[in-house]
């Protein structure tokens, strides 16, 4: 452990110098690293949804954080009033389902016109509509949910991972996120529907000529993407608490991750998510925990100045 004498009495002005003097010992370092990995995987879930929607429809859904919030609220309502804490996994599935239906409806009503020929500037249309929707949903939640903060009941006791004492909920969320990511990967790579999705992502018109109803797949993709966010919200509800702004941080991280990874790349998301989580943790440990929101952006800027399309991204074909 750090010795007391390495701390001067005044921590105000000499903070920088003090930081250089102290050596962070292995125990603390490992704790930071584990926190980083766990958070990284949790952020991946969010990012995967944004990325999947982009891959299929070539639009960015800026209201992802609000679907996350809706997932969290649904989980809260389910666990508190209907199911009870023991059936939290049922709650996660149901919340994801609710968000899936909502997302598919939103796509059907608002996003679909983009692809049936009445919208000129697609990127612009999608950006404006989803940004407006984000702010719309957030303020509705403020008006309905009121000033209160909600929390579903705990379902797992404290545990320990290697050197880090940890809340059981967080471990559950971590494992749940890994399982969801694994299932998603399996679904995309192995199932027939998943392969059709891959086709749509690669060449929309080509797949259409092969007899795939692209519009139907768009709706499914939007639903699945938002459902991933909703499941994330449900899993993280007891950890991040449930309030109208609870989707904000996960969205920010989600966007950082997809830019670092490169749009449309699935393995890139995992790499980028983990490196973001670790960068945040190590930045907190070595520089200052206050700037935790900025480390991800610094990583992003570094990556983009080396690889303008992200780690795994490819230049968009513009014809």
């Amino acid at each position: 452990m750090r010795s007391l004498s390495s701390y001067p009495a005044n921590s105000g002005t000499s903070k920088c110098k003090q930081k250089e003097d102290e050596a962070i010992d292995l125990h603390l370092f490992s704790q930071f690293l584990i926190t980083g990995i766990i958070m990284g995987v949790l952020y991946c879930l969010m990012s995967m949804g944004i990325n999947f929607i982009y891959g299929i429809m070539k639009v960015i859904n800026w209201s992802m954080g609000e679907f996350f919030m809706i997932g969290a609220f649904t989980q809260y309502i389910l666990l508190t009033f209907l199911l009870g804490a023991d059936y939290w996994y049922v709650g996660v599935i149901l919340s994801a389902l609710v968000v899936f239906i909502l997302g598919a409806l939103v796509q059907r009503i608002l996003i679909k016109p983009m692809f049936v020929g009445i919208i000129e500037a697609k990127m612009e249309y999608a950006t404006i509509v989803t940004i407006s929707m984000a702010i719309f949903l957030r303020n509705i939640a403020v008006a309905i949910g009121g000033p209160k903060i909600y929390t579903p009941p705990d379902y797992a006791g404290p545990t320990q991972i290697l050197t880090l004492p940890l809340s059981g909920n967080r471990l559950v969320a971590f494992i749940g996120a890994l399982i969801l990511l694994g299932l998603f990967y399996y679904f995309i790579k192995k199932s027939w529907t998943g392969r059709a999705f891959q086709g749509v992502a690669q060449n929309r018109s080509g797949v259409q000529t092969a007899g795939v109803n692209v519009l139907k797949y768009d709706m499914l993709a939007f639903g699945i993407g938002t459902a991933l966010a909703g499941a994330g919200g449900a899993l993280l509800a007891p950890i991040f608490l449930v309030h109208p702004l609870c989707g904000l941080v996960p969205t920010v991280r989600g966007f950082e991750i997809i830019v670092i990874a490169g749009l449309g790349s699935i393995p890139g998301i995992l790499v980028a998510g983990l490196s973001l989580g670790i960068a945040e943790s190590l930045g907190s440990a070595f520089i200052s925990p206050s700037f935790v929101d900025i480390y991800g952006f610094i990583l992003l800027v570094i990556i983009l100045s080396i690889k303008p399309y992200g780690l795994f991204g490819k230049p968009e074909r513009e014809v």
């Binding site: 009495a9 930071f32 926190t35 000033p147 909600y150 702004l245």
Partner: protein, 408 residues
């Protein structure tokens, strides 16, 4: 035309916009001259993002009760004129605050404005208040810069940052703690306390370590790990809302709290939502308060608290009580001034002492930050049981109110 598909919908929607405009233009002219013209009091608080709507809503609940009290129990002001509340939103944005204050004063003709919450908005609005001469009450903004402006129209009934920081340092000194950690959010509230606890702590010979975190944070583990490695003897939790609860929960998970006592910066551990959020993990938290039910409140506070609890299913927060008290103080000042002229009311506020929910309010005009500032006494209390009621909390400090200086 390419896009003009759903003619009906778009036309209905255009008519709707037109209607909104028209109603908005006509409505004020209909409100007419009644026999006993109501006296208007304004409340301007954040009700929408980027402000903090949670704070604004609770203050509004307090203000509504105050209006009810004046009209039903006091029989109005100035011999029977009713009081009316006009609510404005400042969105936590200085420009919106200035516009809202101008609207309240110049369009609605209010005699005083209460409910300022964000320091940035309050400082900006104070400058306009100087010009327009309508008293402005800071109900939740604790920056000493607000009262240091020494405007004749700024009033505040709350403890400013430096005096509360001094109170915490005195408390820590009394308990024999030498190493104090401060974990604060990046708002003016957090950074102000960080600065002043560091300053007063240093004067008292303590070591203070402070960490600032972003307000929207959801994972405080890195900060808390660093604090844990530093081995503090007291940790001051300067979060507001979700981050405050998250800090308790995550500090418990990594084994920091309750080994190290944690002091909450105001009385949020009495809210039911706190216990929902942290469960058993929140037991033993210390918190700062200005009153404890059954003591230190006047009959006004006794009237308000049960009604608030009945209406909104939680104990009144300090800010709600404060706005309630301020409006009643204004009503008393209107009666003393014998007029609804704002300038005369501002003079009357300074001239005589008044009664609010916690005691006597007497605005003085010394140099510096205590200008027009009345600070209620502070207490440190502890939640010794899960879901403990406010009235059952253990009084820890100071001894003059019966605190025994022991924590469980």
């Amino acid at each position: 035309m390419k896009i003009f598909r759903c003619k009906k919908i778009s036309f209905i929607f255009i008519i709707l916009i037109g209607l909104i405009f028209m109603i908005g233009g006509i409505a004020p002219s209909i409100a007419g001259a009644a026999e006993k013209k109501p006296v208007k009091i304004g409340q301007m608080s954040p009700f929408s993002t980027p402000g903090d709507p949670a704070a604004g809503k609770r203050m509004r609940w307090g203000a509504e009760l105050a209006i009810k009290y004046i009209n039903e129990e006091m029989g109005g002001v100035l011999g029977g004129r009713p009081v009316e509340l006009i609510v404005e939103d400042d969105s936590g944005t200085p420009a919106d605050g200035i516009a809202g204050y101008r609207k309240l004063v110049q369009k609605d003709g209010v005699v005083a404005v209460v409910g300022q919450y964000h320091s940035s908005v309050c400082i900006a609005v104070t400058k306009v208040a100087n010009d327009l001469g309508v008293p402005l009450f800071s109900s939740g903004a604790s920056s000493p810069k607000i009262t240091e402006s020494q405007s004749p129209y700024i009033f505040s009934i709350m403890s400013l940052t430096p005096s509360r920081a001094q109170f915490w340092v005195d408390f820590a000194k009394q308990m024999g703690w030498k190493r104090v950690a401060v974990v604060a959010e990046d708002t003016d509230y957090g950074t102000g306390f960080k600065t002043w606890v560091e300053k007063h702590g240093k004067e008292a010979g303590m070591e203070v370590k402070s960490i600032i975190f972003p307000r929207t944070i959801s994972d405080l583990t890195p900060m808390l790990l660093e604090i844990k490695a530093w081995k503090p003897e007291l940790m001051i939790n300067l979060g507001v809302g979700a981050s405050a609860y998250l800090m308790v929960k995550q500090a418990y998970d990594i084994g920091l709290f309750p080994k190290v006592p944690m002091l909450a910066s105001f009385a949020w551990p009495i809210r039911p939502e706190y216990w929902d959020a942290v469960g058993d993990k929140g037991k033993g938290i210390l918190y700062t308060s200005y009153y404890k039910p059954g003591m230190l409140t006047t009959f006004l506070g006794e009237w308000m608290s049960p009604r608030y609890k009945k209406l909104h299913n939680e104990d009144p927060t300090f800010y709600a009580l404060n706005v309630f008290g301020e409006i009643i103080v204004i009503a008393q000042a209107i009666n003393m001034a014998q007029t609804d002229d704002p300038k005369a009311i501002a003079e009357a506020l300074v001239k005589w002492p008044y009664l609010d929910w916690s005691g006597v309010v007497d605005f003085k005009e010394p140099q510096g930050m205590k200008w027009h500032n009345v600070s209620p006494p502070h207490l440190v209390l502890q939640q010794t049981k899960v879901r403990q009621e406010f009235k059952d909390s253990k009084l820890v400090w100071p001894p003059k109110f019966g605190g025994d200086g022991k924590i469980e």
